[in-house]
Symmetry: C2
């Protein structure tokens, strides 16, 4: 549907649904007419306060907040354009004023909580066989009790038991250990009769110690942080099986649907980066909780998270400033893969769990494309092959075992049916 | 001076000075008579509140706190036995009672702040030539500005400049970098016209980035944490020269002069370990401040601290529980060397600076003995050689390049002149 000069258009975001405004109707009625299901306990009576939405454009042409709205929305949020769908409508007095404009237009943001229907994204498909070699291993050990003859230190008795179980390890490969694990060790080793399970990262660093045999509880989680959607896959690291999958709308959509708008937000607001960073972290942590609940496991038994996303999502997740990705010559801060402790970035996993963020390729070809290459194994093909990743941003990789060429463009609005009624979502 | 049945003895700690109590005199007068100089602005009038001391034994035989004391010492501390030296004296009414006891005895702890004379420890001597190979190196680089042709990421342009300056490095040895340094990098690299100085740990990990050329400012600090005294040596890591030395009384002496008393304190008090840990950290941080002031350098330019100490000091510094060192079969929690980030243990250095705590040998032969072996190079001698480290605790190492045997015993009270008037301190 194109713009028609005097017809008022409403865009509902982030679901990209465009309708024509019926001037006498509230937004609640317009949403119902359009078939978009939203939260409302009172059925549009203005009493439950559930149907909040944010007017991102055109708020000045709407009726002033009603008493119902003043009761259920605080003043600061009202000033920011938050309204109740069942109360807000076009102000009769300002109709002529908005109609005089070229392409009159109102933009409404519906929060994920408001939308009744689950936000859907493809989370399964056909997969190629890949080598399963996780960075995490758990090993159960029974250490010797100390005596006047065998009076090694607690940690050294554990290492002794490890070398006895794996004689292939040499004394030069003694793993390092997190200091916080040692703080508890003198009590823990005695309370558990010297029977402990150690968790190793890269076979050389001890990141967890538990009492008894917990080798079974060994999990990792992989995230694809998209511009619009975040998906998490909880995997058992002993057998490679997916135990749970969960997805969420990327809450950054509230600050702008496309990457350039979000970069502008970061450039213009002093705490812009912090806001976007915290919002993606909180969504990722919600997915962690959800997958743990589905699989019935403890968060502390997730020892590694791997993260992919386009360069801007990658930077914001890590708290890096992406502004130069949006300016010629479009350079990111870093391309290399990054390892960081879960507790240092604020991920709700085991305290010393590792978070590995895959390397990116270029300014607008991110770690998600690296994931595409790894999963499709296009870099091992003999024939010239094309891999496509079409999301809100689209990337392509063309090549084979000899050379790979990548490119990217905005894809969501072209291919996901933005602003048409029967689009893909 | 031995115990005489009806004479009342006073021990002033931590200076190990024993005198006979003059029942009619205040402790201030007794201290003056003994020649121990203490802080007092008002000259014993009870008005300045400076001459605080803690009665560790025998407080019940002293006069009740005077009004002066109630004004200058809070109630909690009064209950813990803190008094003003100029107000406290033997209670006439209780004289008979204390004299009836076998070996009547009062123990007084004088805080370091109270003692006017500087606490002295040997901080210099004759040293053997040792190989100088610090773990820290600083490298100044001029990176390329980005362009549409050379649009590498910021960090990758830095690595490019590094590989150009040191072609011997291969691409497989690309150093890792702390995430917090990347957070600032996009702004820092442009503000400094792409001229930066990188600080490397072990040639493979970047722990600091500064604008411009700061290769000159490259420091490390070494600590010997003794039972009674802590000494710090600030060293220039470019040339191995000592720029400043400072020492302090170990504030743990307030909780007990010997190791066994401190272990008991940890066993008996819920927050005992935390108190002792915090007190040694605070002293170490004061020495850092002092040496930086002497040398006129910034704390953030100290990139590594190395720590030695006996096993109990080693454990308490790291926040590890030393109780099992005090119980048969006397096993520590860990013997291996430990690396930990300065910010993770609370040392006031550069945020990512490394703290290396040397390995210990056994329950009562600590990392300080490892330091003795390294510095004396007794492990390279052809002839049977004896190394002695006589402090509050004494350790010896006997051996040569083929074998080393160590042992330890309490030494301070025997060799440092405890309880004699003209002792070594």
């Amino acid at each position: 549907m194109g713009y028609s000069n005097n017809k008022i258009i409403v865009d509902f975001e982030p679901i990209s649904r465009r309708v024509q405004l019926s001037p006498e109707k509230t937004f609640y009625e317009i949403l119902l007419d359009t078939g978009i299901k939203i939260q409302s306990l009172c059925g549009g009576q203005g009493t439950c306060g559930k149907c909040t939405m944010k007017i991102q454009k055109g708020n000045q042409f709407l009726n002033p907040p009603t008493n119902s709205e003043k009761k259920s929305i605080d003043r600061k949020k009202l000033e920011d354009g938050w309204r109740l769908a069942c109360q807000a409508k076009l102000d009769e007095m300002k109709k002529a004023q908005i109609e005089k404009k070229n392409a009159p237009h109102i933009r409404v943001f519906l929060s994920e909580e408001l939308l009744v229907e689950d936000f859907k994204i493809l989370t399964h498909g056909i997969s190629k066989q890949v080598n399963f070699s996780p960075a995490i291993h758990k090993i159960y050990l029974e250490a010797q009790e100390p005596s006047l003859v065998h009076n090694k230190a607690d940690f050294e008795r554990i290492i002794h038991a490890l070398l006895k179980k794996y004689p292939v390890l040499s004394k030069n490969e003694i793993p390092s250990i997190e200091l916080d694990l040692l703080k508890n060790l003198n009590d823990q080793i005695r309370r558990n009769n010297h029977k402990l399970t150690l968790t190793f990262l890269d076979n050389k660093h001890i990141i967890d110690i538990e009492g008894g045999n917990t080798e079974e509880s060994n999990f990792g989680i992989a995230f694809d942080i998209g511009t619009t959607t975040i998906v998490g896959y909880l995997m058992n690291l002993n057998n490679g099986k997916i135990y749970a999958t969960a997805s969420k709308l990327n809450p950054q959509t509230a600050y702008g649907e496309d990457l350039i708008t979000r970069i502008s937000f970061i450039k213009e607001k002093i705490d812009g980066l912090k806001k976007l960073h915290n919002s993606v972290l909180s969504a990722v942590n919600q997915i962690i909780s959800k997958t743990c609940k589905i699989a019935g496991i403890k968060k502390s038994n997730i020892y590694e998270a791997t993260i992919v996303g386009n360069s801007v999502m990658h930077h914001i997740f890590l708290g890096l400033n992406p502004v130069n990705i949006g300016l010629s010559p479009y350079v990111p801060v870093v391309k290399h893969g990054i390892n960081v402790k879960a507790q240092n970035i604020g991920l709700d996993l085991g305290k010393n769990s590792n978070v590995y963020v895959l390397p990116t390729v270029a300014g607008f070809v991110g770690a998600d494309t690296m994931g595409v290459i790894l999963a499709s194994q296009i870099d091992m093909e003999d024939n010239l092959t094309l891999a496509l990743d079409i999301g809100t941003n689209g990337e392509l990789v063309i090549g084979n075992k000899d050379i790979l060429i990548t490119g990217s463009c905005a894809a969501g609005s072209a291919l996901e049916g933005a602003h048409i009624k029967y689009g893909m979502r």
